[in-house]
Amino acid sequence: MDRTASALAVEWKKGSAELLILSLVETRPRHGYEISKLIEQRSGGAVRFHVASLYPLLYRLERRGWLHGRWVEKSGQRRRRYYRLTPQGRRILASQLRGWRQFVHGINRITRRTTETENA
């Protein structure tokens, strides 16, 4: 990844961090470390959250009532805090996704036309 792409990732991360986290817990509850690993893996290492930024974000989402955290103790493991999407969080996620898709669609249409014109 070149330097421009990395700088862009930082900017986009700020705007899309909430969306990323909400969509990761959409299907099932996950704990903080799992969330950070998934973000790192699925972005191919482009996006990473450190502890110092991940947990404040989780707490903020919880405070807004979009996530609900619960301590779960699985046999043979130490207890971990699992976050699941609340009904309100589900509505927010849907609307953020819609907005994101429209944004991406808009960007795509612009960039495609530019490419097409240049090609012509």
Partner: protein
């Protein structure tokens, strides 16, 4: 494994999080770092490298705290572990309060009953305190009110008599203890000229009246010494209310003229509308020194008037008394004819206004205090009963490390919270209650208009609530906190609770005792009132009304004109259907106003001066007076229409007069000489005695001999006083209220300038004469009824609780062959025992306490055995009835059900 938590906790310190939340975050983040560490290790890194890389996740010293700060502050609170010390004092108080709210919310029925009970107790106390505060505690609304003193003359037969004008002037001149003394005389005027004619209230005052009270005019000036003299130009000061009502508060009123009784007065000042004197404000004030009636300046003739003085700074009332004693002694030797035997009576103005209600209010305050104690005992009992159910909770808390002190504090917080909520509701009750009580009986209390829920009342309510909360909370809290841990946990809640039962029993007995005291108090008042109603007032108040009639007059109106006018008035009244009898009179009417006259009996030695003469009360009457007032004639005849200005003067005396002055002879035909009327009169009849001073008044202290004098035979110098207005008594066939309309109309037909006012039925007059007693009786009865209800609820609660607790025992008894009757006896016996103990204690307390109200009783002693026995029987009966419902429940206990859980 590396220790992550110290690293994390160090970074969280600046946030000052609640300990539990801090631990939670540290645990979660540590878990994250550990996961990362393990991952790095398994990817082949060394322990040191893994540790360092994992720690880099925290990104420096302060990023974590900065990120978390806006999110977590004020969000999480410590989970409550009641009774466990932790955090600072304030946060734990907050914790206690939150927990207390939660506990109350968990048992809403208990909370509702407790709060309502306390609201009744605190509300009644607040209402009464607001009355006491407004009437007794608040200073009079004048500057340096403690310097104000009411002055009276003291003569044989009169403890507090008005003083003649010449004597007033001498007192005023000679005093060394008063900075000023002022005289006032009630005088109403016909106000004419500007718009509709109106009867306005007024005072004739000496020049320094307002200076004495420390009241400044809002416009113009008050009177000067040169206004206050015969022959000075007529001037008047307006009351602020009248100024606003009739003159639209016009600022250029000064210098304008108004017409009072046909004379033009120049307005020189306006007094603030907030001014009130003995509970009243007046429409107009005029200088009394301009009054040129010769009898007014006669030292021997006393007009009804009042005096108020302001003590010099540093002067005490007893110094002033000594000073006045010297002055009156000098006057008595200088004017023996008028002043012999005369002295001064001084009383602080506040006491003069509220003195006779003070004992009533103090008794009521004691009564209402008892009511609060009963309410507290009731709530304490509820708490005790409830604490039984909570003993496991406290045991567990103690096991978790809660200290004894901390548990007590928690329980006290709960009870103070209850009391606070009860107090808030009580304040609402008090607001309505005070309004309702003062609204129904406004005449009973002086300064009633000054009663309000002010800061002091709020402070009182707050302290009473706090006191109540601690009072009813402490005993149960102490009892509860001293639980035997193991026993309770072992027994699963059904612990040994003998001590608690005893405490409940004591509470109930105390409640019953206090209820008995209140019931006895109320009972004695009710019996007094009943005795008062049975007293024959000497006249028949039903279907009788009385009112004042103002007449248009000028200084030149002659006695003949006045007589003619009044005769026309009588005829007009008698022509109204439903009017049976009518008589005009002047001033004196039964229980309303009194006038007295010095006299001597012809053929007996003439006393040397007025003060050595005998005094008798008199009513001026026409022939209709006997029927209109319902006077009973005992001997001879009453005044007839023929007793007019042309015939010899006659009088009718009452039987007290006859007994006192003609003990062994027939008074009819005897002649007496009336001193200030300056006439000889022949006694023609003897009538029954009228209770002039009220039904329950002590008759030995006042003038009791009475006589009736024919109105039309008044000497000219007194008839002049009738020219501007008279009083009227009237008997109706049916409802007196139905006649007032036609009477008003008829008066207007005679002359539109004639006005009737102060219409009262004689029934109202009689009942007003013991309004304060009635006020006291009604309140005491209400308090006693509330006390009875609360005590009943208390007994019922305790007995049904005990029955619930002893279901098992009762089941065993029934299983062993006890009959239902035995069970009933067992339960009722228990209740009766508590009630009986209460009755005995209460009777003993009542014997001591009812002495406080001895002065308010009439026709019944403070230790009236009938009242005591009746109230005790009532209370026992009600207590046993309250036990009956739980007793029936106990009788129905099925041994199978009760023992199933064994």
């Amino acid at each position: 494994m590396p220790e992550w938590k110290p690293e994390i906790l160090r970074r969280l310190v600046p946030l000052k999080l609640a300990p539990a939340r801090e631990a939670e975050i540290a645990e979660e983040v540590a878990q994250h770092l550990e996961d990362r560490y393990q991952e790095l290790l398994s990817s082949g890194q060394t322990e040191n490298d893994s540790f360092r890389t994992a720690l880099e996740e925290l990104q420096g010293e302060d990023l974590l705290a900065r990120g978390i700060k806006p999110v977590v502050r004020n969000l999480y609170s410590e989970p409550i572990v009641p009774g466990k010390d932790g955090g600072n004092f304030l946060s734990s108080i907050g914790q206690d309060i939150r927990y207390a709210f939660r506990m109350l919310a968990k048992s809403p029925a208990f909370a509702a009953i407790a709060i309502l009970t306390l609201a009744l107790g605190i509300g009644a106390n607040t209402a009464l305190f607001s009355v006491v505060n407004g009437v007794l505690l608040n200073p009079l609304p004048y500057p340096h009110p403690s310097q104000l003193v009411a002055l009276y003359g003291k003569a044989p037969g009169y403890d507090q008599a008005p003083v003649s004008y010449p004597n007033f002037l001498d007192w005023q001149r000679d005093t060394h203890s008063f900075s000023s003394i002022a005289l006032y005389h009630n005088e109403d005027y016909n106000f004419t000229g500007t718009g509709e004619a109106e009867r306005v209230s007024g005072y004739m005052i000496s020049a320094d009246f307002f200076e004495t009270l420390g009241v400044k005019p809002i416009l113009g000036r008050t009177f000067r010494a040169d206004d206050d003299q015969v022959g000075a130009a007529p001037v008047a000061i307006l009351g602020g209310g009248f100024w606003g009502r009739r003159f639209g508060s016009s600022p250029d009123i000064i210098g304008k003229s108004i017409n009072l009784n046909g004379t033009s007065y120049t307005i020189v000042g306006v007094i603030p509308s907030s001014f009130s004197f003995y509970g009243h404000d007046r429409d107009v004030y005029t200088p009394i020194g301009q009054w040129n009636d010769p009898s007014f300046r006669d030292r021997g003739i006393v007009f009804s008037s009042g005096m108020v003085g302001r003590l010099k700074a540093g002067m005490t009332l007893s110094q002033a008394k000594a000073d006045m004693e010297g002055i009156t002694r000098n006057l008595a030797s200088a004017y023996p004819e008028a002043d012999k035997g005369m002295s001064a009576a001084l009383v602080s103005m506040k006491e003069d206004i509220v003195g006779n209600v003070q004992p009533f209010l103090l008794v009521l305050l004691v009564a209402v205090g008892f009511l609060l104690l009963i309410a507290c005992a009731n709530v304490a009992n509820l708490l005790l009963a409830r604490s039984m159910g909570r003993s496991r909770e406290f045991a567990i808390r103690a096991a978790l490390g809660a200290s004894h002190r901390r548990v007590i504090r928690q329980l006290l917080t709960e009870s103070i919270l209850l009391a606070g909520l009860g107090g808030a509701l009580g304040l609402l009750f008090a607001f309505w209650g005070t309004k309702a009580v003062l609204g129904t009986l406004p005449d009973a209390l002086p300064r009633a208009s000054e009663v309000s829920l002010d800061f002091r009342v709020l402070l009182f309510t707050l302290s009473v609530s706090l006191f109540a909360g601690i009072l009813f909370g402490l005993a149960p809290a102490l009892k509860t906190s001293r639980v035997n841990l193991q026993e309770i946990l072992k027994e699963g809640g059904r612990g040994s609770s003998g001590a608690r039962h005893r405490l409940q029993g004591i509470f109930v007995a105390v409640e019953v005792a206090m209820a008995l005291v209140l019931l006895v108090g109320a009972g004695l008042m009710i019996r007094s009132l009943a005795a008062l109603w049975r007293v024959n007032p000497g006249f028949n108040p039903s279907h009788a009304i009385t009112f004042s009639l103002s007449l248009p007059a000028s200084p030149t109106t002659s006695s003949a004109e006045t007589r003619a006018r009044l005769r026309a008035f009588d005829d007009k009244m008698l022509s109204i259907p439903g009017v049976e009898a009518v008589s005009v009179t002047l001033g004196s009417r039964p229980m309303q106003h009194s006038s007295s006259e010095a006299f001597w009996i012809e053929g007996r030695p003439k006393p040397a001066n007025l003060n050595e003469m005998n005094q008798a009360m008199f009513y001026l009457a026409e022939s209709g007076f006997e029927r209109a007032m319902g006077i009973t004639l005992k001997r001879g005849r009453f005044i007839s229409p023929q007793d007019d200005e042309h015939s010899p003067v006659v009088i009718v005396i009452d039987d007290v007069f006859a007994r006192t002055y003609f003990p062994h002879e027939n008074p009819i035909g005897k002649r007496i000489h009336l001193a200030t009327f300056n006439v000889q009169a022949e006694i023609v009849g003897v009538a029954g005695h009228v209770k002039q001073w009220g039904l329950g008044a002590d008759e030995k202290s006042a003038i009791e001999a009475q006589f009736y004098y024919p109105f039309m035979q008044l000497p000219d110098h007194i008839m002049r006083l009738a020219a501007t207005g008279v009083a009227v008594v009237l008997r109706t066939k049916g409802d007196p209220a139905a006649v007032t309309g036609p009477v008003r109309k008829a008066v207007e037909e005679i002359d539109p300038r004639e006005v009737i006012y102060n219409v009262q039925t004689m029934d109202e007059v009689v009942s007003n004469s013991f309004a304060a007693r009635r006020f006291s009786m009604i309140l005491l009865s209400v308090f006693a009824a509330l006390a009875l209800v609360l005590a009943c609820v208390g007994i019922y609660g305790v007995i049904s609780y005990l029955v619930g607790q002893r279901t098992h025992e009762i089941g065993v008894r029934v299983a062993l062959g006890a009959q239902r009757g035995d069970i009933l006896q067992l339960v009722l016996g228990h209740g009766a025992k508590m009630a009986f103990a209460g009755v005995v204690i209460g009777a003993a307390a009542a014997l001591g306490l009812t002495r406080l109200m001895a002065s308010q009783l009439f026709g019944v002693t403070a230790h009236d055995p009938l009242t005591f026995a009746g109230v005790a029987a009532l209370l026992m009966l009600v207590a046993i009835a309250a036990c009956y419902i739980p007793a029936r429940r106990a009788m129905r206990v099925d041994p199978m059900v009760a023992l199933r859980y064994e």
